[in-house]
């Protein structure tokens, strides 16, 4: 059985399991519950655990070539998790090309954050 893409544990101890890369179920995470911890699947098969945030955001970034040897394939470049902390945002880029995790600190007034589609935030 495939591992879920993520597992969310809420403050009330209930949980929600994600789907897969094609249907992550991210937007199905109930927004009326406070997330205590999330465990997100890494390409290695391990899980990245995150907690202690105000809000969290997730998206999958893909590349589709219009020509060339791999034209038409939808290739995952990375998965991005962004957690909102008190003073800043922390971005975790889970790279699917070299399986590393890149961590960036973003300021509260980041233009990048402002241009994100707001429907992706979860509490």
């Amino acid at each position: 059985m495939n591992k879920p893409l993520f597992q969310v544990i809420f403050e009330d101890n209930s949980s929600f399991n994600g789907g897969d890369y094609h249907n992550t179920k991210w937007l199905e995470i109930p927004n009326d519950k406070k997330i205590r911890t999330i465990f997100y699947l890494l390409p290695t098969g391990d899980y990245l655990g995150l907690g202690g945030f105000k809000r969290i955001y997730q998206y999958i970034e893909v590349l589709t070539d219009l020509n060339g040897a791999e034209s038409g394939k939808k290739k995952i470049d990375f998965i991005c998790l962004i957690v909102e902390k008190e003073d800043n945002y922390i971005q975790y880029k889970i790279n699917h090309q070299d399986i590393g995790v890149e961590i960036n600190i973003l300021s509260k007034n980041s233009g990048y954050i402002e241009k994100l589609n707001p429907i992706g935030w979860r509490n």
Binding site: I60, V62, D65, A69, S71, K74, D77, K115, L116
Partner: protein, 214 residues
């Protein structure tokens, strides 16, 4: 579900958008179809009845001019299935490089998290952009120019943004960020060869659309 992308080109009237006149557009079969950038001649042209050979493409290549920059004359869609408006393998992409808005269409069937963008790379590895066509290592010198036309015409004699690698990309929603619902975004593209460019080449750079989903 993951948002998916269909790329279409206008082959009839580049003054009409896909929403109002879908019949004017051909969806690219990205596995088999491809774009041909060419000067064109009596063989390599609109409505060919066979796939052009490498020799035919070379014979119809755009020539470098010693005095003025040259915009590649034609962009042809090589339609592998050749089942649009007759059994034709090639269709002229209408409005390419002109002051036309609805030329290349990027049709997303759902929301994205960030703004979709068009990129140009040497290969499908998306790691380098040093082909002559992409500026030979100087991204701003890329011959591949793009302009987002999602919200307006590009303007007469539009210059466009040079496309090369990760730093020189074309935002497809005019810098407005993510798309909230299923949307068709538009761009116009052209290739401009500098005057007296010293290195003639036949290069197959890769155009890539980068987008996101939840």
């Amino acid at each position: 579900m993951a948002t998916t992308l269909v790329v279409r080109v206008n082959y009839v009237d580049s003054d009409v958008n896909y929403g109002t006149t879908p019949a004017d557009y051909i969806a690219l079969d990205l596995t088999n179809d491809y774009l041909i950038w060419t000067k064109g001649d009596s063989v390599v042209k609109d409505l060919m009845t066979a796939e052009p050979t490498a020799a035919q493409l070379n014979a119809a290549a755009e020539l470098i001019d010693p005095l003025v920059a040259v915009t590649v004359t034609k962009c042809l869609l090589m339609d592998y299935s050749h089942n649009v408006s007759g059994a034709y393998y090639t269709h002229l992409v209408k409005g390419m490089g002109e002051n036309k808005r609805y030329v290349f269409a990027f049709d997303f069937d759902g929301a994205t998290a960030t703004e979709p963008q068009l990129e140009a790379w040497d290969t499908s590895a998306h790691s380098t952009a040093v082909l002559n066509a992409l500026g030979a290592g100087t991204a701003l010198d890329s011959m591949v120019k793009g302009v987002c036309t999602t919200v307006s015409l590009p303007g007469v004699s539009w210059a466009g943004s040079p496309l090369a690698g990760a730093s020189n990309v074309l935002l497809l929603n005019a810098g407005s960020g993510a798309i909230a619902v299923a949307t068709v975004l538009y761009a116009n593209l052209k290739i401009v060869i500098p005057a007296a460019y010293a290195t003639p080449a036949a290069e197959a750079f890769v155009l890539t659309c980068r987008y996101t989903y939840f």
